[in-house]
């Protein structure tokens, strides 16, 4: 296994490929957090009074809360007064086309390999790109508008669709839900809003790229997706952040609402800066994601590929309230160097005949720690609930850790719940089998890791799967293709 070891050494040696900074002039609020900062953010965004009130209420509640410490992660505490809560790229006029967008910005996207122009042309994906909290470019908007689909930035939605925002904002993740969601509710700067009207099947995949750019700005995104009766939408979220030495905080909130017969498919590829090989720097990713299957026969499906961030704390969940509703969670989490990930899902079965499926694949390398933490809860009235969970871990290297914390709570005798988990390393016999057939060790490791994650990768939309595989390759460089 000398080859195998050197493969891991190489993996550990690889640097973050997306670490670069674009020189965009930013207009920022002073550091720190108090009611004035919240008023400043609200005023900057020209928000109605009720939203400011809502933010302040969240802030006051946040003050009474303490930072959670139950997750299986260790990191120096965040100084919430040392964060800039608002930073807008200094580009005041809304661009009508990509040509009007700051060329530096476009180059940033190009480096990421997601040139908007190319994406528009080749893939038909509508991109609502967010750089440092303000939406800078939105495409395919008219095409979507024809179908009655609303896809815009949160700030725009607050101005143009206040009735929808007022009805749904905070309805799935209440501002009092947890420490980070309260913080987010108080200071969120932008994000995406999406509304699919009754009976409409969104013809293209909607996509947002978040990028944290200016130094020391925490990113507080707020995403809200509402799928009205019998509608369908597939939403892609991709994140990369440039290289920074100081730890940056990211506390987003994502809310999904699926009404009768609606389906939401939410895919994430997260590749924020994980810190260097000594564990210096990197993003703290403390995200609250939750969807509610409000109506009968509705479906919410989460797919995530987590390769980045120094610390990840993320549990995309489904509340299965409608009868016959379905929740799914597919996850690949890769940790390397000093990365720590505590991720999983919650499936809350409330309605009758609800079904859920959890497939989680954890891959740990270096000295990283990778945890799955999940809850499957079947309430007393959730007759005939069905759940299947599978969480597998793959260990590359003898100093990393893989942990599983599944909570299963069943209060109904007609429920059928299954959970299984395995932990293993790549077998020497598997490598030998490949070597014997003329496949070198590096390619063999790539083959095996890809095969291990296949079940989840298959769930990703085509355009995303390609990038996700690339990211997997970068994170485990030397191990994968």
């Amino acid at each position: 296994m000398n080859d195998g070891l050197s493969t891991i050494e190489k993996t550990i040696a690889s640097d973050y490929k997306y670490g670069f900074t674009s020189d965009l002039e930013a207009e920022s609020a002073p550091k720190g957090l108090n009611e004035d900062i919240i008023r400043f953010i609200s005023a900057k965004k020209n928000e109605p009074g009720w939203l400011l009130e809502w933010r302040l209420k969240a802030y006051r509640h946040w003050l009474t809360m303490t930072e959670p410490n139950w997750a299986n992660v260790n990191y120096p505490k965040v100084d919430f007064q040392d964060v800039i809560y608002y930073s807008a790229p200094k580009q005041r006029v809304k661009p009508n086309s990509l040509d009007e967008v700051d060329p530096e910005l476009l180059r940033t996207f190009e480096k990421l390999g997601i040139s908007m122009a190319e994406q528009k042309r080749l893939t038909g994906v509508a991109v609502d790109a967010v750089i440092d909290s303000v939406s800078v470019g939105t495409s395919f908007k008219e095409e979507l508008a024809e179908l009655g689909i609303i896809f815009c930035s949160m700030s725009e939605a607050v101005q143009e669709h206040p009735e929808l925002i007022k009805k749904y904002l905070g309805s799935v993740v209440p501002m009092t839900d947890n420490f980070y969601s309260a913080l987010n509710s108080a200071v969120f700067t932008d994000g995406s809003f999406c509304y699919i009207p009754k009976g409409v099947r969104c013809p293209m995949e909607l996509s947002t790229y978040f990028r944290i750019n200016a130094e020391n700005t925490g990113q507080f995104e707020r995403t809200l997706i509402v799928a009205d009766e019998s509608s369908y939408v597939s939403y892609l979220e991709g994140c990369t952040a440039p290289m920074r030495d100081e730890n940056q905080l990211h506390a987003a909130v994502v809310e999904l609402i699926a009404l009768d017969h609606a389906e939401i498919k939410y895919s994430t590829v997260q590749n924020w800066y994980p810190g260097d090989k000594d564990g210096k720097g990197g993003i703290y990713n403390f995200v609250t994601k939750r969807g509610i299957c409000q109506g009968a026969h509705s479906k919410i499906s989460w797919t995530q590929v987590e390769t980045g961030s120094a610390v990840t704390w993320k549990y995309p969940s489904c509340i299965l309230k409608g009868d016959y509703s379905v929740g799914e969670f597919y996850s690949v989490a890769v940790t390397n160097h000093h990365q720590q990930a505590d991720t999983g899902t919650k499936m809350i079965h409330l309605g009758k005949n609800t079904r859920s499926r959890i497939v989680s694949k954890g891959i740990s390398a270096g000295v990283s720690q990778n945890s799955y933490r999940g809850l499957v809860s079947v309430s007393k009235n959730a007759a005939n609930a069905r759940n299947f969970s599978q969480c597998d871990s793959l260990l590359l290297g003898d100093r990393c850790g893989a942990h599983t914390f599944p909570y299963i709570e069943v209060k109904n005798s007609s429920a059928q719940v299954e959970h299984e988990a395995t932990t293993s390393k790549i077998g020497e016999d598997q490598i030998f089998y490949c070597n014997q057939r003329g496949i070198d060790t590096e390619t063999a490791v790539a083959l095996i890791v890809n095969g291990f994650a296949k079940e989840v990768m298959n769930q990703l939309p085509m355009e995303f799967a390609v990038e996700a595989q690339k990211l997997l390759a970068i994170t485990l460089e030397g191990s994968v293709g």
Partner: protein, 433 residues
Amino acid sequence: MSTVTTIKEKMDLLAAKADQLAPVRQAALKAFNNFGLPAPKHEEWKYTRIGNVFNLPLQWAPDQVDAVTAEDLKPFLLPGHEEANVLVFVNGVYASALSVIRSASIECMSLEAAMDSGYAELVAANLGHSGKYLTDGINALSTASLRGGVFLTVKRSKDAEHPLFVYNITDARQVNMLSQPRVLLHLAENAGLQMMETYGTIGSQESFTNQVMEVVVEKDARFEYYKIQNDAAHASQVSTTHIRQTGKSFVHAVTISLNGAIVRNNLNLVMEAEYCDSHMYGLYCMQGKSHIDNHTIVDNVMPHCESNEFYKGIMGDASTGVFNGKIFVRQDAQKTNAFQSNKNVLISDDASVNTKPQLEIFADDVKCSHGCTIGRLDEDGIFYLRSRGIPDQVAKSLLLHSFAMDILEQIKPEPLRNYVDRLVSERLAYEME
């Protein structure tokens, strides 16, 4: 005066007592004052509200044990009693008049006496070792209340000719009783022991048994352990068995839980040597409002160990079940094989199960897996039997019995297996009525 205040007073008195166990008690008392009783937020006690037990006026057990006679013991006797080494605890205090050690290979003495014997070092190193794994007030309570405990050792290269039966009897005829039996068991190199243990509450008052048994299994020793819990419906217990495998050894543990108010089992296996082999089996079959909580820890410290864990539950009426199985694989514990499985059947709409099979792995060259299921009886199976003329109730009872069989088969001594099998069959027939 509240129960907790009474207990604290008694523990303070004990801590002031200047005997050989004083330092152990004092350290535990400090821990108890620090931890307090487990709050509902305590992760290890999330589903088991043990604090409620202390809302009762619980009586601190007297030192005298003569209130319970051999006659009182009769209903609790396990098959093979006449041939066995017998250890009886009355209200947590060792009752020598009711106990008998028949095997020459077993040495038995009080913990205090053991501290003055050639085993002093061993006792000092192991008494309270469970506190390193169970950091809560319940475990500290037992250690801070050390009194009437027993040290047992099975001599080197000897198989105890007779099995060891341990009866934990609580006398709740007059008052609600707090009983805290304590045993430190040592299996010397190449020793073998078969042990059965049961619990009995006499009288209609409530009882709380907070038992701690610490076991040290040395190189090449073999330890077989059967715990039968079929106490009264008003009897609660926290039963801790903490097993250290300090040499390459074999452990086979079976826990059968059939009745009780709140029954909490902590079964810890610490594998501190290479090539240890351990098996843990459990069957819980509950009715009424019983609450059963099985917490197990398998800590793989050294490489090349194998552990196998299989727990099954049948939950009837308004009973609640909890299973939390932890497997730790330390960084040096390469080539570990650890398996865990928990299967539950709910046969009543009011029953519930909370399960949390947990893996924490720090070594890469391991094979670990866990699985758990919660479901109901297979309808096809019931249909198959009914189509052959077997009535519904009988069909269900048959299927449940076969479900339980996997665990019952692990009880190696035949008389005990038949005894438990009968208890389970009666229970299942009742459940189906």
